[in-house]
């Protein structure tokens, strides 16, 4: 190893709205997308490559992502394939706490984790949404996620008619 080179060099990333963030190489390599970029230029060129632009992630979301990757930089991360077999039996309490955020932030975090290819973060955040859907009626789901009821009036009428028939029984 080069004695003058820090063991975990600093890397800079720039959000879509132009804010620059600094983190470590070890943390940023949790992103499959950035890892591919760095492998392309060679790790030796990390110090000289300048800030990495991330066009699809805004500064608020990037700040959250960096907080997560810095916390998990020393953990072995599962691959996308390993994630498929993962059960939701145990979630790290730190992650549970980390995901306590409003839905808008959570949606942005999901799309960022998807774009940056961070399988574990994507799994945690999508699972969080699934847990919110659990045990809710269609109406409750609509109001929680602000989903428009896109049934046509004729369809709704047909359903009401059917339900009326059920109630009469």
């Amino acid at each position: 190893m080069d004695i003058d080179r820090p063991s975990d060099p600093q890397v800079s990333v720039v959000s879509s709205d132009g804010t620059m963030f600094h983190t470590t190489l070890k943390s940023i390599l949790l992103s499959g997308t950035i890892k591919d970029m760095i492998e392309h230029i060679g790790e030796g060129g990390v110090e000289n490559m300048g800030a990495i632009p991330l066009q699809n992630v805004d500064s608020k979301t990037l700040e959250i992502v960096i907080k997560w990757i810095e916390h998990h930089k020393d953990n072995i991360q599962p691959t996308s394939e390993e994630i498929k077999d993962k059960t939701a039996d145990f979630i790290d309490p730190w992650d549970e706490n980390f995901l306590e955020m409003d839905l808008d932030k959570l949606y942005n975090l999901i799309t960022a984790a998807n774009y940056l290819n961070i399988p574990q973060l994507l799994w945690l955040s999508t699972r969080k949404i699934a847990m919110l859907i659990k045990n809710r009626t269609p109406q409750e789901i609509r109001s929680l996620f602000n989903i428009e009821d896109d049934w046509t009036p004729q369809e709704i009428e047909a359903v009401q008619k059917e339900n009326q028939w059920c109630e009469e029984k």
Binding site: I129, P138, F145, N146, D150, V159, N163
Partner: protein, 418 residues
């Protein structure tokens, strides 16, 4: 950003975590969700529409969603004597008649064969049908159901007459390749049914009720794959079970047995299976003994009662076995079979556990003799309900048994080496 604006692959990912009922609720929440669901073959494959007496009224809306591709429907606990319920179910099935591949009808009553036929007759793409514990009040033997794509059928009925009636409905089907029979007493009509299926390759017999099927010298059909609870018991009609196996030799490629062959000829049966049948895949209990025609390395086995002979044959065949657990639940089990065998088959054994749930004190001394034959064991556990009272004698004897120099009594039932 809104939930519905999340990329399609993300929504599919989220839906994939949901169980049936929750998935059904999100599909009903919006047309967009239902459309996304239908684009994912993974979700369509795993989703089961479960219709029972409690949920049948929830599915009214399904009618106006014909774009949902439904592959799997489970119908359970319905009384279809009620014409309204029958009409409702028939309408649901009719809506999805071309997409349904797997249908289960369990614990459901029909007034007539005609009503039963109403549900099935239009399922042109149905591949797998499960009919468990159904009741047809007025059976009409003239009604035959021809399902052009049916590949497998699974049946469980309580009474032989009902089973025969139901099998008659599906007789002579040219597409059925797999038949599963659960917990049913098998009589001659089952042979008639199997013989009538020209493309049958795979037979599954589940539950101890099906064991008698093997008490014969020949099977009426040639199978490529057989799954069975057990290959039956030793026949006192002087027709060893090997005769049945001989009749399948050259045809049977895969065999899965839930239990080791029992009785005094169990060892011979297992030996024949291992050495003469040229099986490509052979699974016995939890152990894969042969995979892709290669004998596997087995490290531990468990057998019980009258499986001793087959268990000992396992020890002969698989030198890799290091751990053995033997369970005795039946007082008449002849444990002396352990004694008159070449001792070297136990040389690789390191862990031995004997669990005796009977109160037959005499067996205990046979275990001690057996343990003497296991020259290299490191860990021993004997659980027997009759240890209490023998402690003093055991304390004298056990230290002379090979490696068992140190041991302890735990409670009144357990001896453990340490």
């Amino acid at each position: 950003m809104e939930f519905i604006e999340l990329p399609e692959e993300i929504l599919i990912e989220i839906f994939g975590y949901l169980k049936n009922e929750d998935l059904w609720n999100i599909l009903r929440a919006s047309r967009r969700c239902a459309e996304i669901f239908s684009t994912s073959s993974r979700l369509v494959n795993i989703f089961q529409l479960f219709i029972d007496d409690k949920t049948i009224n929830l599915y009214q809306r399904i009618e106006i969603y014909p774009e949902i591709r439904l592959k799997n429907i489970v119908i359970k606990y319905l009384n279809l004597f009620d014409s309204n319920q029958l009409q409702n179910i028939t309408k649901i099935i009719e809506n999805y008649k071309s997409s349904i591949l797997n249908l289960s009808i369990c614990d459901t009553a029909f007034n007539s064969s005609e009503d039963f036929n109403k549900i099935l007759k239009n399922l042109t793409n149905l591949e797998n049908l499960k009919i468990h514990r159904i009741y047809i009040k007025n059976f009409d033997s003239n009604i035959k159901i021809l399902l052009k794509s049916l590949r497998s059928i699974s049946i469980e009925l309580r009474f032989p007459a009902e089973t025969r009636n139901l099998l008659d409905i599906f007789k002579n089907n040219k597409t059925i390749q797999q038949v599963e029979l659960n917990n049913s007493l098998i009589l001659s009509y089952f042979d008639d049914f199997l013989i009538s299926l020209p493309n049958l390759k795979h037979l599954i017999l589940n539950g101890i009720g099906t064991v008698d099927y093997f008490n014969r010298s020949n099977l009426p059909i040639k199978l490529e794959k057989l799954e069975a609870f057990s290959l039956g018991f030793y026949s006192r009609n002087e027709r060893p079970r090997i005769e049945i196996l001989k009749s399948q030799k050259g045809f049977l490629k895969e065999l899965k047995l839930e239990n080791l062959p029992s009785d005094n000829d169990g060892g011979k049966v297992l030996k024949f299976l291992m050495e003469n049948m040229n099986l490509e895949n052979f699974q016995c209990g939890a152990n894969q003994l042969i995979v892709n025609s290669k004998k596997q390395k087995i490290e531990e086995i468990e057998f019980k009662n009258d499986q001793i002979c087959a268990g000992l044959e396992m020890m002969r065949h698989f030198e890799s076995i290091k751990k053995l657990k033997f369970i005795i639940e039946q007082a008449e089990t002849n444990v002396d079979l352990f004694l008159n065998i070449p001792t070297n088959i136990f040389d690789n054994l390191r862990d031995l556990e004997i669990v005796d749930k009977t109160y037959n004190g005499l067996k205990f001394w046979s275990y001690i003799e057996f343990i003497r034959n296991c020259r290299n064991i490191k860990n021993l556990k004997i659980y027997a309900k009759n240890i209490n009272g023998n402690n003093k004698r055991l304390t004298e004897i056990l230290p002379s048994v090979n490696c068992i120099k140190k041991f302890q009594f735990i409670d009144d039932c357990l001896i453990q080496s340490c």
